[in-house]
Amino acid sequence: MTKIALNKSVWKKKDLLGLEYLSKEEIEFILYTAGSFKEVTTRQIKKVPALRGKTVVNLFYEPSTRTRTSFELAAKRLSADVINIATESSSVKKGETLIDTGKNIEALKIDTIVVRHNCSGAANILARSVSSSVVNAGDGWHEHPTQALLDMFTLKEKLGKIEGLKVSIIGDIAHSRVARSNMWGFTKLGAKVTVCAPAMLIPEGIEKFGVKATNDLAEALDGADAINVLRMQFERDSAVAFPSKLEYFKRYGITSEKLAGCGKNIVVMHPGPINRGIEMSSEVADGKNSVILDQVTNGIAVRMAVLYLVSTAKDGQR
């Protein structure tokens, strides 16, 4: 990773809600810190006492195994105590509101709440209602900042830099929080970002992210240093716009043939879980360009860095 010696922390925030709200320096600082934590994850004893005596709650309103496990492992490797709360949210089900739940968790003297929610903005609303730190583990279609951070970390690890790279995000942009966090993060670090999807899956005003939008996969692949292939949620939002999986695979699925024209070292990322044969062929997913499993490994280091930074943030931005 980077060799720059940073002597002063630039991190002041109690929460990580999205990459939209971070400066380039803050993002680079998280990546630098994650690099330090990556070393910890390669040790025989993968545990440090940094957050000993602190408690992290994983508050998940949406089912998730991967992200929750990754956060749980990250917290445990920092010696924090971890509690998992899985619940459902609905306007119809008259249960406890998000804010009430947050205040109850806070009353238990919890230091950090990691929240996954089906509604966009849920983490923002929670963060201003409690004094505990809040880490957004994915809210609706809004943001999934730690996923984008681990995407950036992995790409920087592979190619040595982000600035100037052409990064193409392919798939259901409209309904993807990963896409939004990726667009904010990669553009802030100076990458040239292209998003590619069928027209009905590209939302209004996308160019204001500072990205290029196209419906043509060949254009997205042309000259790309890396592609980030999103999961198509045919069981949910994506289906409305693109009814046939086979048709999608034919046009937008990433195959060895389609990658043949690309640079030999093109990096293939995917936030997982992969729909093999829909957005990506198995050959590509398991091939030499794929860094999908590195992303999973790096996710722990990135989340350790984030939990460490928000939990030990100093000054008034609590």
């Binding site: 990773m1 010696a5 940073l6 002597n7 002063k8 922390s9 991190w11 810190t33 690099g35 330090s36 934590f37 990556k38 070393e39 910890v40 040790r43 025989q44 004893i45 545990k47 440090v48 006492p49 940094a50 602190k54 920092l78 860095a305 460490y308 930074l309 030990t312 943030a313 100093k314």
Partner: protein
């Protein structure tokens, strides 16, 4: 709070001579350096370790393994310090199991940093023996820790600060004694 310089404790030459002496003492202490590694505590201890290793190599024609240890995550005051400490990477690319380790730091004071470093080292493996080299020992220990090699003993009062400056970080080599003064 600002720091007011009171006196210069060591200059470039004195620092170099002290390190030279410590290098000789280390060589003298161990029958063979085959099993010895030098590990500096980040930030300035790591630079001192680099210097020690090059001195040892010049004298013995053999370079012992060199490592750098970041102890931030092991600090016992992580949640109390006024500024968020930056986590740097530990860079030790050899197995420390059974090795004789010489830990290097710039100033030995309360001993808490060394305590953290010992915890951090133990998480990395099981060294045969751990020794400590410090450029300055200023006293005021809060833990039962002592240095095996000392560049200079500097008696201080509690409201004084010893600042070690190294050319790698600060552009020049010197050790100064400062006084905390209200700003």
């Amino acid at each position: 709070m600002t720091l007011k310089e009171k006196s210069r404790v060591m200059d470039k030459d004195a620092i170099d001579k002290a390190l030279e002496r410590i290098a000789h003492e280390i060589i003298e202490h161990f029958d063979s350096l085959d099993n010895v590694a030098i590990i500096g505590i980040k930030n300035r201890g790591a630079h001192l370790a680099v210097r020690l290793v090059s001195k040892i190599a010049r004298i013995t024609k053999k370079s012992p393994p060199l490592g750098a240890l970041d102890i931030t995550l092991y600090r016992d005051d992580l949640t109390q310090v006024s500024e968020q400490p930056v986590v740097h990477a530990t860079e030790i690319d050899f197995n420390i199991d059974g090795m004789d380790i010489v830990l290097v730091d710039d100033v030995l004071f309360t001993g808490r940093t060394i305590r953290s470093a010992l915890d951090a080292l133990v998480d990395l493996g099981r060294p045969g023996r751990i020794q400590l080299a410090a450029l300055i020992d200023r006293g005021h220990r809060e833990l039962p820790i002592r240095a095996d090699y000392v560049g200079k003993n500097v008696p201080t009062s509690a409201d004084e600060v010893v600042e070690v400056k190294l050319s790698e970080v600060d552009g020049k080599d010197e050790v100064v004694l400062c006084e905390k003064a209200p700003s």
